[in-house]
Symmetry: C3
Subunit: 262 residues, 3 copies
């Protein structure tokens, strides 16, 4: 009854995701499969890492999170299995697990890593172009079916790590930047709730807009107004109530965000 | 083995839907999850209500339909659980269940409503910005796992209701309007099969087009022709055979439809 | 525990797919459902046939593949059930199963076909506009629940077949054409690995580009370069590494591809 989740940049028009599900269920017919998203920007590892870190806390122990955003497929980059706390990651060793791992380490949960180098747990024919189907899907399914990670690969201790840009302290607050834009056009920054603890935020500036104070919820502002609030994943976010802040401000990932605190 | 369905305006690029599935399966590991759609127009409650009413009849007894189109998240709007016939609705109390409920009441199926105000059935931390994950997902999962609705909230009897615009009788037929445009560009109106029973429809006018008579099926017209027919949900629809009536007629929701009957 | 897969041109914004899942689970509550894609181009049977042929090999015995790209709904075209090797196809008899069937026949796997003409296995009310929900979903579910195909329809032996354009041998290699463009903008041609076996490919020409030699994998070329390689389904493909060959070359399905071999 293990859950396998799936996060990719494959889109939904082709058979890629469907082939992976066939490979999962051929090996682990009891597994539940949860599509997280297949609309990560092509080759955008950081975007995938953010989504993975945001969903993993809501899954039960034993869940296997498969993430395939894989610009290095067919190169020397390792296929990786990680145990992070009581859950698992399966995917390319390119940093996709980084933000989730960073949070786990900060909370004292142990992690261990394995290079998926045992052919017994892969499809009989491994192409050089689709490791999602040929390596990661069967590996995740064997794991879901009960094979111990130690049996599936050689232990390693140096997974590739990527980091978010760090926000900077300023004399009057913080300078951060936009790290993600969601379906609604809400702008998430790299400033977390923890950065703002104990501060009285007077304004948040982005592009040519200045939002006064922090809201607790969207509905504290009127429809069409901009609001700054802590979003459901703990990041400072700028949103237009019932609208798109991204479209209104022509904002992009990387745009600076200035927080003034009194 | 209860089924949980999920209808939202979250899109599929972020982790929102994925977090909800984690919350479902953390509480009800046996539940089946059916994504209905996550592409309801942002904050478009009527669109969500139409989809929900169209799918519910095809699900078995006990199914829990979760719908989250929630412009009022964090405001005073109530989180609602409804028993409608032998199925359940979980979502914001903003009218999403209205069209399904109206049909049920017309068919004599009983309904009862509960304000989801018992913290035991929510996530430990409820944010003010994502009730889909923090309130509706765990509530639906507890319901799917067998908790009686009476235990999960306080009974209420005044759920918010929205209505479709009503079609008008004219001397020679009916005047209605377009209420939904599907993926194929087919134009569904607010005229139901029941309105046209016993009438001999001679023409259907929309924008500058006049479609002669009603077809039983698309294939009674040639490719590229317009057809008027009763669609799979019982609504009068204008379609272009193997094409898009919406694109061809530049039609929008709200455009008037005139039916002439002889 | 049978798997039902679903391939359609319905898109994901409406309730069509959701209604089908309700019909599946009302009859076969134990079935697993795998969405393959709902983004086949409207009425594009060949595109659906390609996806189906690409995913079927990765599913276990007994899987029921439902495909509904159905421009002929409501006409005389037959609703079809096929047993292909140890798996099943359910959908309109319009060629959707052709490419999968062709491969199965080439590999000596037996196939048999049935006209779904027994009302017992359909929904009580069959509309003339949505056979996916009213005929194919219940038929697939009864099959998944164990009803023998022989019981569900009359045997036939002449399923509609469509074929891919055949590549042409040239004095110096092969002339093919683009048959599919994926989410990444990779261009798949109708030249298979088997056509190129034993040849030393010196160049692949498409539009005004000339790609030297065949790569084994994307990562043998630099980011932004074009590469020609055998894709994960065995077709010769032209790709831009970490980019979109379709956008760069303004390429479309049907564009010619010239392979020179030394």
């Amino acid at each position: 009854m293990t859950i396998i989740t799936l996060t990719t940049d494959f889109g939904l028009q082709d058979g890629y995701v469907g082939s992976m599900k066939g490979a999962f269920w051929s090996i682990a017919p009891e597994a539940r499969i949860a599509d997280i998203t297949h609309h990560i920007g092509p080759q955008n590892i950081l975007e995938g890492a953010l989504v993975l870190a945001s969903v993993a806390p809501y899954y039960p122990d034993g869940t296997v999170h498969v993430a395939v955003i894989d610009p290095g497929v067919g190169s020397q980059r390792r296929p990786l299995l990680a145990r992070i706390g009581s859950q698992y990651f399966v995917g390319p060793d390119n940093g996709l697990l980084s933000l989730w791992l960073e949070r786990a380490e900060a909370e004292g949960r142990p992690a261990s890593f394995f290079h998926l180098d045992k052919p017994d747990y892969l499809l009989p024919q491994v192409t050089d172009v689709f490791h999602g189907r040929d390596i990661f899907a069967p590996s995740a399914a064997h794991l879901a079916a009960g094979v111990p990670p130690e049996q599936m690969g050689t232990p390693v201790d140096d997974p590739v790590r990527i980091t978010l840009p760090r926000p900077q302290r300023t004399p009057s607050g913080w300078r951060g930047e936009i790290i993600a834009i969601d379906h609604f056009g809400n702008l998430a920054s790299n400033l977390r709730r923890e950065h703002l603890d104990g501060l009285h935020v007077t304004s948040v500036r982005i592009k040519d807009a200045c939002v006064a104070g922090l809201s607790r919820t969207f509905s504290q502002r009127s429809s069409g107004e901009l609001a700054a609030l802590i979003n459901s994943n703990g990041w400072l976010e700028i949103a237009e109530v019932n609208g798109s802040a991204a479209r209104r401000l022509q904002a992009r990932v990387g745009d600076p965000v200035e927080v003034e605190a009194g």
